[in-house]
């Protein structure tokens, strides 16, 4: 399954991905990084297209879980 995966070490927590997400699957965790709700994510890639730091990417995730 293809889901958005965020590299929290690179993430700048700007929140552009969360604004773009049509499923509201992304939240900014305590102002530190973007957290993707894998259950809601449909892997559309809108977040990846918007991310200025290149930290969030749609990639293959096993079973829809972590």
């Amino acid at each position: 399954m293809r889901k958005a995966v965020n590299d929290i070490d690179r993430c700048v927590a700007c929140g552009v991905c969360a604004l773009q997400c049509p499923r509201e699957a992304i939240s900014i965790h305590k102002g530190c990084y973007a957290l993707v709700d894998i259950g809601k994510c449909v892997g559309c890639g809108l977040c990846e297209k918007a991310c200025p730091a290149g930290s969030i990417k749609v990639s293959e995730v096993e079973n829809g879980s972590k």
Partner: protein
Amino acid sequence: MAVNKKKHWYEYLWIWSIIYFALGFFNILFAWLGMIDFILPLIFAAVGGNKWFCNHMCGRGQLFWVLGRNLKCSRGKPAPKWMSSKWFRYGFLIFFLTMFGTMVFQTYLVFSGAGTLRKAIKLFWTFRVPWQWAYNGSIFPDWVAQFGFGFYSLMLTSTLIGLIVMVLYKERTWCSFCPMGTMTQGICKIKSKERV
């Protein structure tokens, strides 16, 4: 299936960014209003432990989005990796704060009488641009206007840098090394560790 997103008043704060620069063009004292964008994110981070300001209220970020995405002024290409690396982000923050400190010192010089008011703005910390039409004296002492010129320079310079990277790379590339963003994220990281 797009979720029907309700529009909020704070989604239009990009208009504020434009108004800010317009006001400062006519009267430099309005530059002081930029302190709101300086202090508010820090309060959000220090008190709430969040980046709600960056995420929802940043007029500058919104402006880059409106110009870059809606008006297609951005190539939308990924920015070089070093631009969002830690050393560059913190390096830029230190540089920015140093320049801010220099500006405050110049204000102090005018305040103490050791310096005189210069009715000009400085772009990219280098190029002096005459701006004398924006100030013809007021009820405030000269140092208030000096701070206005300095602060307006800082705001304009950073917006210009943001516009350049917006055109070259992603719409909100500025956000990846914005000094306010780096500072607020840093505060949030410290706060989230405390709370464990």
